[in-house]
Amino acid sequence: MSTSSQQNRHQILSRIRQGLGREALSAAKQQQLQSAMTQPQRNLVPQRAQAQGQAAIDMFIAMATEAAAEITHLESLEQLPEQLTSLIPEGDTRPLVIASETQLTNLDWQSANIETAQRVAQKGDLISLTSCIAGVAETGTLVLKSGPNSPTTLNLLPDIHCVLLRKEDVIGGYEDAWDLVRQAKLPRTVNFITGPSRSADIEQKLQMGAHGPKRLIIYMI
């Protein structure tokens, strides 16, 4: 930190304390606030964010669809390659960029005649395929974590983002998602994604496909 940053820090903190009419908090008070942070209490969780089981799945589907995500139901994971072929325009040789997770890489892409690549997404990529850690029912939101096998660019750069979601991973509310995130080391990025990218910046008319994916397709098994 530069000296000026340090001086500013000192200035800002003292002005705040002056405004509050006190010195820095006592060690005991700091301890109390710390532990409130390490064992965070939930605030009011809306009823609909407490849905579970089939009710949560139904709500997830309804809300995600409302947010313009597309949902395809699969009986088994093995059906996925076949499903994806319909997305690739004839003669398009661009590879399908997939997250390097064995459940995805082990699928029989060859029989479906799909060329895959395991890498970060690049400008010009058409389709990416990733998994997610959860689907949040209350708003039809997908939760994705960054990591060595799940580069964030896959969620953002390609025109079509395909996401595998297992029904058992559908949860009620955002709070449940944070609980899942807290189970492991905090990743660099957690993406909450609700539908494909959009903008209403021209005359407040909603257009799909701004800078992120133009289509978000959720494969549910």
Binding site: M1, N43, L44, G209, G212
Partner: protein, 472 residues
């Protein structure tokens, strides 16, 4: 940004006569309020969430020093850097230093009102670093050398034809007339910038001390590309944007999207916690947070403290009868509408921004929709009091108030005066009971008639009531 607030009255007059602007503002009125109401209608707990949000934010302010220090140390634990900036100049210089330390020539930017506040783009350009706005609205404005007129819908003052013209001119392409074609064109042009940029700068809607994270909330995905592709990510945010824990964040996510655009959830809510981690194949190598004060710390403990709860959702301006008639530019600086009328005088001085807290009918709509229940009319009134005390309000107004105060302290004279005035006004009004013009107050009667006082005065009625009370 140049300060045009002293010319508020002229700005407003011009805005009212500007047919293009009026057409564009029609889109605002037709959109946000209805969508917000519909979204809230589907969440019965909304008002209870607002109460909790208000409490959390008050708690944050009471312990802001603690949360700032905790956030700083968590960011450092995550491998990031925190920089403290007291003023706009400090913030701009800090950001420039980081850019120069990696030899940056171009930087991409996500939408950020704090960077507007500190005048970052001009500063960077002056020092040979080219900023490229990537939010569609902000990008359009940058091409036009224009400024946002709304905090979440920056180009709301423009129409399709404005966008069409500027794209054709600056991109050297044939003019397009469909919004989706224009958006595709911007998408194509900006892809190259995203990939080429050395540094990505975003704001933050919130920061979380629990985890040392910052959060951006966008619909386009531009903010995410801005912060993921370049080598360096700089987050520019202000000291009050704290929500202590991820649990609190959940609550604020529920409030923000519904209050702002009326969406159930904004498309991208992204939590960033530091630079890329071992094994990560993408993401920035450096993560910097610039904490901007710019007068906020001196709001702690003063009349404006409640304003530090603001989450910049824009509901107050979306519902404001003044904003929706004149648009954001008339306010003459970065923050428009009711929240701007409270903040701007603090940031540029009441001398220059004196008109803003007076540009309100005090209808109270802003306070009624504010997700963190900021008493905006009360705060504007407190600025009016400051003006009166500093004798910064118009002399004629102060004389009138002084005269009234004197009369009010002399009840006999008051009664006499008011009964004469009432009689005079009913005679002038004739049998229609309405006054078409007044010797003073032409500003009122130019646009509408003034109903003449009817029946007995308040004092008389009060007396009658008291008498009745005595008898029963």
């Amino acid at each position: 940004m140049q300060i045009n607030s002293p010319k508020f009255k002229d700005n407003a007059r011009i805005a009212l006569a500007d047919a293009n602007l009026q057409q564009a503002l029609g889109n605002l009125k037709a959109g946000f309020p209805g969508k917000r109401a519909a979204a809230i209608g589907r969440l019965p707990e909304f008002d209870a969430l607002r109460d909790q949000a208000q409490d959390i934010k008050n708690h944050v302010i009471e312990n802001l020093d603690f949360y700032l220090e905790t956030f700083e140390s968590k960011v450092q634990d995550n491998g990031g850097h925190v920089h403290w900036a007291s003023s706009s100049e400090d913030a701009c210089q800090t950001i420039l230093d980081i850019c120069q330390s990696v030899g940056a020539r171009t930087v991409t930017k996500g939408k950020s009102m704090v960077t507007e506040e500190i005048g970052l783009n001009d500063f960077l350009e002056k020092h040979s670093v080219t900023p490229v706005e990537t939010d569609l609205g902000e990008y359009i404005l940058q091409l036009r050398e224009d400024h946002p007129s709304h905090i979440i819908a920056p180009a709301i003052h423009l129409n399709l034809s404005d966008v069409s013209e500027i794209f054709a001119e600056k991109h050297g392409t044939e003019a397009k007339h469909q919004p989706e074609e224009l958006m595709q064109e911007a998408r194509d042009v900006l892809r190259d910038h995203f990939v080429a940029a050395d540094v990505g700068i975003t704001g933050a809607n919130f920061y979380v001390p629990e985890t040392g994270s910052t959060i951006i909330v966008t619909n386009e995905g531009n903010g995410d590309l801005t912060q993921t592709l370049p080598k360096v990510h700089i987050v520019v945010t202000s000291i009050e944007k704290c929500v202590p824990t991820l649990e609190d964040l959940s609550l604020f996510m529920r409030l923000l999207s519904r209050s702002a655009t009326g969406q159930e959830c904004t498309v991208y809510n992204t939590l960033s916690s530091g630079p890329r981690q071992p094994g990560d194949q993408d993401g920035p190598e450096q993560f910097h947070v610039v904490l901007v004060d710019n007068g906020r710390s001196s709001m702690v403990g003063d009349d404006l403290q409640d304003m530090l709860r603001c989450i910049r959702c824009s509901a107050c301006m979306n519902h404001c009868p003044v904003y929706s008639q004149i648009g954001g530019h008339a306010y003459g600086w970065v923050y428009p509408g009711p929240m701007g009328s409270v903040l701007t005088p603090k940031m540029i001085g009441i001398h220059d921004a004196g008109h803003l807290p007076n540009a309100s009918t005090f209808c109270g709509k802003c306070e009624s929709v504010c997700p963190v229940r900021i008493p905006l009319p009360k705060l504007m009134r407190s600025w009016r009091e400051t003006q009166h005390q500093q004798q910064a309000s118009p002399a004629i107004g102060r004389m009138a108030i002084g005269g009234w105060a004197w009369l009010a302290r002399h009840p006999r004279l008051y009664k006499l005066g008011s009964s004469i005035a009432i009689k005079a006004m009913s005679i002038m009004a004739g049998n229609k009971g309405r006054l078409k013009s007044l010797p003073v107050g032409r500003g009122w009667t130019l646009w509408r008639d003034l109903p003449a006082p009817q029946g007995s005065s308040f004092q008389q009625q009060w007396k009658q009531q008291q008498n009745k009370g005595d008898k029963s």
